[in-house]
């Protein structure tokens, strides 16, 4: 009895710690949601209110007239889905080569490839800009998508996962006369759904949040992504917080949707890939 009682106490403790984590994580979201329907004067009121007594929902229609939010949302969707698909294809093919093909210098090449992880993205901004501009791709979807079509993180994640697939399966397929593209497509890919799902979420979310490149690679309002469009609400002297938070609520919706849909494979993929810290 005593033992069972202590176990409950420990459970309560864990529960309390986890609850603190939940509050800390959800607090900003709650504030965002609450602020999006507050009157302007109540935003920084003290003591702060979480919910206003005088909710105004007009912000949810005003956001579409204040900035071209609908168009920006569509742009973000197009760009993020395209980048996600591109990374899934490019990274899985590269990972297949690094994991399943035998060739000279493979490990050295992979190390160089991994070194790209160490290059901070800011360093590549100007060369990328010059390249994309020379190609005449400023203000185009390809200019927004292609610089992110490959990812060394994604390749690494998938290579680690592909390595865990039993060699016997691949060898059996080869004995049956399967070509590499068949092994890749019919054996490796279907067995790696968890890792592919994780990469898809990771790529989608990080691109959805990407601000620097879409800011630089677009100059026309019609090509802005959600992050850039929302930043126009934050002025030099004045910020319309309720409207900005309204936009933010709408902007996080797809991310939350993607995460809920792929949650299981996201966590499974990250632990299986041995990249839990990232």
């Amino acid at each position: 009895m005593a033992r069972a009682g202590r176990k409950t106490a420990v459970e309560w403790l864990i529960f309390a710690v986890l609850l603190t984590g939940v509050v800390l994580t959800c607090g900003p979201f709650a504030w965002m949601l609450g602020t999006s329907i507050k009157p302007d004067a109540e935003v920084f009121q003290f003591p702060p209110t979480l919910l206003t007594g005088d909710p105004k929902l007009d912000n949810y229609s005003e956001i579409f007239s204040a900035i071209p939010f609908g168009r920006a949302f569509l742009n973000s969707m197009i760009v993020c889905i395209a980048i996600t698909l591109a990374q899934l294809i490019v990274c899985s093919m590269a990972a297949y080569a690094f994991a399943c093909l035998e060739f000279r210098g493979r490990e050295a090449l992979f190390l160089i490839y991994l070194a790209a992880l160490m290059v901070p993205p800011q360093v590549t901004i100007i060369p990328n800009f010059i390249l994309v501009r020379t190609l005449g791709w400023i203000d185009t979807y390809q200019g927004l998508i292609l610089p992110f079509a490959f990812s060394s993180f994604g390749t690494f994640l998938l290579r680690q996962y592909f390595k865990t697939i039993p060699r016997e399966l691949i060898e059996a397929a080869r004995i049956d006369g399967a070509k590499h593209w068949q092994i890749y497509l019919f054996i490796v890919m279907p067995l790696s759904r968890a890792a592919l799902g994780a990469l898809a979420i990771f790529a989608f979310v990080s691109q959805w949040n990407n601000f620097l490149w879409p800011l630089i690679a677009t100059t026309r309002v019609e090509m802005q992504t959600v992050t850039v469009a929302l930043s126009t609400l934050q002025g030099q002297y004045n910020t319309d917080w309720p409207l900005l938070m309204t936009g933010s609520v709408l902007a996080v919706a797809p991310v939350i949707a993607v995460f809920i849909l792929g949650n299981r494979s996201f966590i499974a993929g990250l632990t299986a890939g041995g990249f839990g810290g990232r």
Partner: protein
Amino acid sequence: MNRLLLVTAASLAAMATSMTAAEAQTNLVFAYWGDPAELPPFEEIVSTYKAEHPDIDITVQHAPWSGYFTRLDTQLAARAGPDVFFITNVPSYAARGQLEALDQWIADSGFPIDLYNQEGLKSHSYEGQLYSIPRDSAPIALYYNSDAFDEAGIDYPDESWDWNALREAALQLTQRDGGRIARYGLVMESNDWPIWVRQNGGSDFDDSFAPTEYLLGEPEAVEAIQFIGDLINEDQVMPSFQESAQSGGTTQLFVSGQAAMAITNAARLGTFAEAPFEWAVAPLPTGPDGTRVNRIGGAGFGMNAFSQNKEAAWDFLSYLAGEEGQVIFASAKAAAVPAMTGSETVREAFTAPFAEVFVAESEHGVSLPQFDGYVDVTNLYIQPALDLVWSGEATAEEALTAIAGDVNARLAQ
């Protein structure tokens, strides 16, 4: 077969003519930042100019303040970017050779540069050359909540106010609720302290553009910084700058009634219009001996040194920054205090509320330091020292004299 050839030839010819028509038109790119409320005058100038110059097409690139310079810096680093752009912090761009020097263009076209606030031109120059034409001066003034003054039974601020009058009023206007301050007497911007130093007869350096000596350790400067520090920590009539930033800044604190007076620039006129109380604008209080000093600066318009169409770019720039543009900016709803104060037309067009206060203040404007290494000196030494004073951890004298050796060594480099 022959018919087909003819059709092809005809369509080729048609393409050729349409191509020459397109080539005859000059394309200019014009970039600017601004909050949504500030954009109409930019758009009006572009459309008016295009209507008068059908051979010139202008593409506009707008970015919010937060992202504008990130994009511009990248474009300029790639030797690309807009032909004409809205710009601040001119010397650092000029030093990198990214801005076209304007003196020759001004001389050749007879542009009336004499009509501009001459002190204001200094911060748009680098090594004796002018690199941008200022759009506005950005003087600050004292906004006050008239209702709060009536309630406390104090006279409204006027041009006779000095630091002590300001402090007295702030003490009376501050409302304390136990340990908490329900309403501060005053709030100001974190980067306006150099004005206070100058009002007290001090300075930060011996020369704002080619400094050789650091002067914030001198008694006049120390006294001014200590005065601000005391408003925060001793009198507790003003929030610390960090607290102010976390509460939405000067704008939010004043509009929500959490600060009874605010010292800030004319860009706030629009936002404060929505405040649920009566308010007005008074001149900036003077130093203890009556010295009037205000800040000047503001943003201007420059030309890309790599522009392919400099002739057209100058023509548009001189319209944008000249009398036509100044009138449009001065009469806009979110007006900027015009830089071309020598022009009667521009002064008459500036009819914003309290316009006369801001124009008068801009006459007392002085240029603040701008030199290579200023950002380094500020970030490494001056700002950390000031933060110690603002937080009450050190007196102004301790903090500002302690860094003198380091700053002077950095200036000597």
